[in-house]
Symmetry: C2
């Protein structure tokens, strides 16, 4: 049975009908709609002969035994954010199903092939993303903290998980699933504008950005907007404004692939008759190279202090979150590049700004690569998320080629 | 009986005890505490022989008949904001009482002298400042709108006024109070840092600033902070940052007495993972010269549009409020300058950023001047508001000199 990429598009539409509404996809992890989607997926995979199992973290595995226990993994997530798009996460899963069908139809593969539907990639309900993949990767270290989390309705995380047969305390037992994993492949929509602006359907992902996230707070002095001369002011907003403009220069100087964002400023007292006393800025910096990320952070900090001195205000940095860059496997990047060139002509290598389950698997030492397919207008996490049908079909073909090449590579090792 | 400036300070402390608490002054207009303060004031003035009357807008007048119906007015306001300071408004009133005592003790003056305690200068309860003075000046044009206003407890403005014997529909009858007014004098704390920074106790006010107040809204495009390259962004915050820095240059270029303030920015969505889509900026510009104010506004608007074009974002201006500059009387400014030099050595001429009842009286065509006394740290509308006792005493002396000179001037006209 040859690959039928159009079937993937049809099945994605079927899933949308089954688990979405007029506001978009509603497959939030640990809900009944999510469980319904997993049930539907089980039925779709059944005819491939792949054996289903659910691990201790709730990840859903479909295993096609082969000539060796060494395994090539294809992974995605069927969960969505509330009012989500029709492709984020489930494209990977459904393309994987089609690839599994093709492989199964070709007879027993030389190595084991497994499709995994990770549990709760989005973290939409409890604010903890990459749940299932971080458990399998062994990098989940926050179980004690997770025990206390509740959703908006007050349901505790452990209770929601238990409702779907998952025991939070045992989630790390999922680590054994990566035993024997020789490669991990993931296809995802780009969720950004790069491929569309280059008029390319597909690209190879080099890795996921390292992220440095801080709250930068400037403190000046509230003063009457009418009675305080300009040279007597200590305006916290001036520090924030200079920093907002400077982080863009820092990103430009660092070169392609560097991004710095001031996502918000909160001004206090924030009234028209007063100079701003406090400006709380949210700063997000990302780069694929750890040294350059560290340098961008140092530059921003140095600049922020220079601006504080110029304005006679104080500045204070508080780290909100950070993560190291995670680089994908060079050999698999080459294979993905080849696969894309074969099905779509030109390819392009780009970093991923958003995190993905692939980053967790890569952190666990499994050679990993991702393929991105173009997103229209870069939109995601909204029902407006979309990708041209012809590009979706090309992406299924590229994943299939990549899987074939990777199976050959692993079989030859 | 000679002038006793120390008595004014003692009486201000007495008023603070009577109508304040641990959070500051509580003489909010149209409340029982305010009525109690007016009652206390009536008793203080009684021994001068000045006749009390309350006009149709609730203004409390004390009239000392003289050799002519032409009147020199001294005005202030005993109402305060909630948790207010011990000087804002009532310094003027109590200094006026002391001056009235001195004049009465000297025998019948050559012209009529009137002390006025304006009703509801602060507008703290219903958000409408300069109530009584704008009624007397005939510039109150918003009675229909005021009829619908309610305080935080839901009490309607007309009901609160009626509780103090004032009929909103008749408030403009107070206009007749300015018949025969030949000069208006007002002493006030500076509520700003200029005199303190110059180490001067007293200054002459040239007029009140014209004000242009706008909301300037930049609209760009929300985009993922990780997946959107720097050159693909349309960042609304960049427009706001450039404008914040540019308005300071505009004020500097305009020269002394120009102030421009961005009092707040609201960023949407305002999250760390997104480029800012909308930045709503509060812009306040003030100048004593109408043409320069208009020029500052035009410069800010032109710059804002240039920044929008540079950033490929949209900008929109909405006027919140504006008022023309109001210049005080040149002859009275000279007399105030002389009076200050006589009691305190050097003087200084400065504009007033905040509005005052004096501005309403000046708009009505009555020759007007104000004297400012130094504010410590520029603080006002807080219990921390303060002025050195020696400076308070000098201010009472200066007002007395100014009243004497003004009476002579009017008598000679």
């Amino acid at each position: 049975m040859p690959l039928q990429p159009s079937r993937t598009v049809a099945e994605l539409r079927e899933l949308r009908e089954l688990t979405g509404d007029e506001n978009g996809a509603q497959r939030v992890a640990w809900t009944d709609t999510w469980a319904k989607a997993r049930e539907w997926l089980r039925a779709k995979v059944a005819d491939t002969g792949a054996a289903e199992s659910v691990d201790a973290a709730g990840n859903q595995w479909f295993t096609l035994g082969g000539g060796s226990d060494r395994a090539v993994l294809i992974g995605g997530h069927i969960d969505s954010v509330p009012n989500g798009g029709w492709l984020d996460g489930c494209l990977n899963v459904m393309a994987g199903v089609e690839v599994l069908r093709r492989i199964a139809a070709d007879g027993a593969p030389p190595v084991t092939v497994r499709l995994v539907n990770w549990a709760d990639e989005e973290g939409a309900r409890f604010g903890r993303s990459l749940f299932g993949s971080s458990a399998a990767a062994g990098s989940m270290t926050d179980q004690a903290e997770l025990r206390g989390r509740r959703d908006a309705d007050g349901t505790a995380l452990p209770d929601a998980l238990a409702g779907q047969g998952v025991d939070l305390d045992r989630a790390l037992d999922a680590r054994s699933e990566l035993d024997g994993a020789a490669a991990y492949l993931e296809l995802h929509i780009e969720q950004g504008p790069v491929l569309e602006s280059m008029q390319l359907p597909l690209g190879v992902v080099l890795g996921t950005f390292g992220v440095e996230r801080h709250q930068v707070t400037y403190r000046g002095q509230a003063a009457h907007a009418g009675s305080t001369p300009m040279d007597k002011r200590r305006d916290a907003l001036a520090g924030a404004a200079k920093l907002e403009l400077e982080i863009r220069e820092i990103a430009k100087r660092t070169g392609e692939g560097a991004v710095c964002t001031m996502g918000g400023v909160v001004t206090k007292p924030g009234i028209v008759t007063s100079v701003v006393e406090t400006a709380e800025c949210l700063l997000d910096q990302r780069h694929l190279d750890a040294a350059r990320l560290a340098s961008m952070l140092a530059s921003a900090r140095e600049a922020s202090e220079r601006f504080a001195a110029e304005e006679e205000i104080a500045v204070e940095w508080e780290r909100i979150w950070n993560i190291e860059p995670i680089l994908f496997d060079e050999r698999l990047v080459e294979l993905a590049d080849e696969s894309i060139r074969e099905v779509a002509g030109p390819s392009h290598r780009l970093p991923s700004g958003p995190l993905h389950d692939a980053a967790e698997v890569a952190r666990a030492g499994v050679p990993t690569v991702m393929v991105f397919v173009q997103s229209l207008r870069g939109l995601s996490h909204t029902k407006l998320e979309d990708t041209k049908e012809e590009h979706l079909e090309l992406s299924v073909q590229a994943l299939d080629r990549l899987a074939a090449k990777t199976i050959d590579l692993v079989a030859a090792q």
